[in-house]
Symmetry: C2
Subunit: 246 residues, 2 copies
DNA sequence: GGAGGACATTGATTGAAATCAAGTGGGCGC
DNA sequence: GCGCCCACTTGATTTCAATCAATGTCCTCC
């Protein structure tokens, strides 16, 4: 758990200022946060917390990718969440980590000591409001993942994961979602397998199959290009229509 | 969606007063809620909301059981949540239902029109605080379910479901959790299958297998008794130790 | 009391993904 | 440049759960 103390960045210049738990804060509220925040960096592969560890801070991912995962006695593991920039880690009111948290890439986190943060939540409704909103979104995402884990085929799972990564990537780059796009996979085949409830061999086979059939193209192991995004969407098994109101 | 208007019960007499979204409210705050609340009853089997429906209320389950489920284009369905007494339904700030909500038994709900409720959340931090807490708990439950869906065997899934129902039942009855206990299954085999990401035949086979091996005993289709709860726990694949801090 | 239907069990067979087992290929250190 | 390691691919086989197909068992309603 050795890590590097970083120069603290001014909240006003923070790249995720408008999406993180502090999104709704006014300038004066930001100043309060600014006082209790500190940065930490974790290397790729490093464990940020183990299930059951005492965790004295909560944090926002500033950049990099981390995973949340759970493990059964005999070692079977399931990833239960992906922490991307602006995502929040830790639970106010809880002393211990509920999941294993691992840095997939190098990760920088904006940390707050838990006690002062809990106190701020009480006095600053904007923080609690935003956290509720983010938690509700995460719950929706977890439930969508339940549908994938419980009912989708291996091929649909892969297509769904690629879709999600492609969308997120496009939104970060502020590209409009064109029908063709490309991106890098931030996960190993094994991490993909842990996310999708598959084995790494099955992941590899399905990626190969999608490539063979021209749904995706590979450059190296990790760079994917999708010539026809609608075609990929068709492979996810999801409703194709957006589900807009009547 | 036809339903029966019930005589409104005084919040102070409400059986779930201390566990629901209103748990933290003071007497004066309860009075505000009291003004905007109304009861609705849904029959067993009735659909409370379809995904994408406009939903002008949020609600707390007072009694009965309802399910949240999602469906793929071709009809495969996955249950993503179980609403038990005191659980909250609907999302402040969202107009449409995100899931199909179905009454499994007869269900009574304590409803609040969405707009006034959202307004109350803004002015009454105790409600927002409690809702955040409940949402975080649901997120934990959803993630535990992801582990089950992604990595457990059919037998482990059944054992896990029985464990959860047994525990909840014991907590409702205020029994101390003895090593032997009994309860009724509130779900059909099909609903169990939808929850566990299995087919109803597999559910039936695994229940039969656990019975054959003496892990459980059946009286009728739905009444289960567990002679040795630890034995059942062993079948869930979960860590046996409670995961207490070091 | 019997017909009909919903819910459940059980059996036979198939099939998708896991498992077991070699390989391949690229990056890195020496 | 060589070898090694790691991430990944591919192949052969097994296995668990799905699927297809009968029954069985209540329960309700005439």
């Amino acid at each position: 758990m050795q890590d590097i103390e970083l120069t603290t960045v001014d909240c006003a210049d923070c790249p995720i200022r408008h999406r993180a738990v502090c999104a709704r804060c006014e300038t004066d509220e930001l100043e309060l946060l600014e006082e209790i925040k500190y940065y930490r960096t974790f290397e790729a592969g490093q464990t940020i917390a183990w299930t059951g560890d005492r965790l004295d801070f909560v944090a926002t991912v500033v950049n990099g990718i981390a995973t949340l995962s759970q493990t059964l006695e005999d070692g079977r593991t399931q990833m239960v969440g992906l922490l991307l920039p602006s995502d929040f880690m830790g639970r106010p009111g809880r002393e211990m980590a509920s999941y294993d948290v691992t840095a997939t890439t190098e990760v920088t986190m904006c940390c707050f000591r838990r006690r002062p943060f809990e106190e701020l939540m009480r006095t600053t409704p904007h923080i609690a409001q935003r956290l509720l909103e983010m938690t509700l979104d995460e719950l929706d995402a977890a439930r969508e993942w339940m549908l994938l884990l419980g009912r989708k085929t291996a091929r649909e799972k892969i297509a769904s994961l690629l879709t999600i990564i492609a969308r997120r990537d496009a939104s970060l780059k502020l590209d409009k979602v064109e029908n063709s796009l490309e991106f890098d996979l931030p996960l190993t085949r094994e991490a993909m397998a842990d996310y999708l409830g598959l084995t790494l061999e099955t992941v590899s086979r399905q990626v190969s199959a999608l490539k063979r059939e021209g749904v995706i193209e590979l450059a190296g192991k990790r760079h994917i290009s999708v010539p026809d995004f609608d075609r990929l969407l068709l492979e996810t098994g999801d409703d194709t229509d957006g589900g807009l109101p009547v």
